[in-house]
Symmetry: none
Subunit: 195 residues, 4 copies
């Protein structure tokens, strides 16, 4: 890689980092390209040199971000074979990345189709892990004989709900997930466990 290409990569990464920060602050829908550029201390036009449209930038940034995030969460969850630990690990993770995920939860329906598809695909991998654990639990006769897919939809929808309503539910700078994690885990386990 020559110097020029390297420099280009640097700028590119700078834009991605800055855009993520803006995104976390106000969501992508309300972030303007001018704002990103000014916060990254680059020219407004430079942004369009790297990303032809605002939409392409959104896609890139979220894809990047979620790839990393997914890697992490998969590594973490892979080590957990029982549903209780998996839940804890996942909610810990969501709590740490809550700034990002609450924006995502709110804005997902407004993203361009392709992007939403990618995000949901990544989510599906995690969902799948939980579904497997549940299936095994059912097979071991520890869990009720429910549709694992549906059960996980209940769980993820609830987390999504809290995340998207973060403004309302959280007080001060507290975490929504932190606030509700114990109740959610407890109830979910009660619901699926036998006896």
């Amino acid at each position: 890689m020559n110097k020029r290409t390297e420099q280009k990569q640097n700028t590119r990464q700078l834009i991605l980092r800055t855009a993520k920060a803006c995104f976390i602050d106000k969501g992508f829908l309300e972030t303007t390209t001018a704002e990103i550029a000014s916060r990254a201390e680059i020219a407004h036009g430079t942004l369009f040199l790297h990303f032809k449209t605002k939409e392409i930038l959104i896609v890139e940034i979220l894809d990047n971000e979620l790839e990393q995030v997914n890697d992490k969460i998969q590594t973490l969850i892979a080590r957990t074979a029982d549903i209780s630990s998996a839940l804890k690990v996942y909610l810990d993770f969501l709590e740490r990345e809550e700034d990002l995920f609450s924006v995502l939860a709110r804005e997902l329906p407004f993203y361009p189709d392709a992007l939403r598809g990618k995000i949901l695909f990544r989510e599906a991998i995690i969902r799948n892990h939980f579904q497997q654990i549940i299936k095994e639990g059912i097979n071991r006769d520890e869990l009720r004989d429910i549709d694992p897919i549906q059960a996980i939809t209940f769980l993820f929808s609830t987390l999504n709900y809290y995340l998207s309503m973060r403004k309302i539910f959280r007080e001060e700078q507290e975490s929504v997930i932190g606030k509700f994690r114990d109740k959610v885990i407890k109830t979910f386990l009660q619901l699926i466990e036998k006896g």
Copy 2:
């Protein structure tokens, strides 16, 4: 009512109808006042004669709509004392009003505080009804000893999730709620029922 008042009411209703149609098509946030006016074939200024601001128009529509809707659903649900019938009635209802509710599910986090408050208040009344039924079920020892509030959050979050992701989940002009209602009901009942 004289002809003038009648005519005014007509225009008002025309605006409300047209705006509702626009909102269902593109959401409240992306619909412009100019678009509503042109689709209603009235002058742009006329819209502001009837509704001082775009926000007031949105509130009016949703408030109107949700009042009717809430009345209906309360009447329907009031007659149901067991959770299974209540679920059926409620999902039937959501299915019929799905066009509106899917927009609402997506956009709720972006509405002005006051409006979001009103909507959530109305929802709370319905949630409460379900919570009561569940409490009674628990007391009669038919349902597991779970936190009714949490259980209902699971249910409503899931419905909200399907509604907000309608574009993705539904095929053709089919209803999302219709598509998932049986699975949702079945799983939810399985989860909360004893034995």
Copy 3:
């Protein structure tokens, strides 16, 4: 005068009264025709039945008002033959009508030519009275040999200045004229008097 004409006159007077009140509150330039109508509790269109345009209304109202006002002030001033009493009488009068005159002082340059002409004509009559008194004072060798017209321009300009800057100079609901009257009278007399 039949009943219809009488009624029309009533409405006309009502509009004039109400418009004057609005005018005093916010000036004519910032008063809307809709506002006048609503405050008069008549239909917006009725206003245009009596006064074809907003401009015509302004002209009418100020003309009416200033005619009365002028009659009063002429009667009052006519009785005063020395400059000191005339000044006191005039400033007392301005203080009482300050609400109206401060708006006029500010907005006069923006009024339609014909109206401004009428207003200035009325003012000229009063100015003339002062000029006469000064002339006599000069003839009696009590006052310096100055151009009476210019002297009166100095006086009226100053009063106009205080009136137009009322917002800045007056504190609370106090009167600007009241606040400065003694200084103005004292200085003006010092300036024109001999010795």
Copy 4:
């Protein structure tokens, strides 16, 4: 300075020039941003690139203009120690800048507080200079023992009056100040001088 910066400065100056011309023609209050843009042959949006709001543009123009103007007048007046020369210098100056000052005289009461404050502050510096000269004149026993502040208010109010009524008083494209300068100077001197 590179070509870009230069070009930007050009556009900025073009806007300022054009806006000043518009303002002189119709006043600040009645000039629209669209009009300035079209007269400057730039896009409407470009104007807001250089000046965030119309108010900022007005402030910028007046501040610029008045700074220059004040510097000039202070230099000129500073050299004059007797009231007569100071008056001549000041009126010459007003005559040259009459286009701008007559708009200012009319519109001042309608400007936003901050702007009006700045303008009055600048004026106060000049008023103060005159007051000093008068004080010294009084001390040297050449002028009557009057309140210098009041005397200067009489003078400035009169100039303000002529400026604001320019449309009426001036004939053709003649200057109002030019028309009245001799009379004003003469009368003012007569009024304040002893003997």
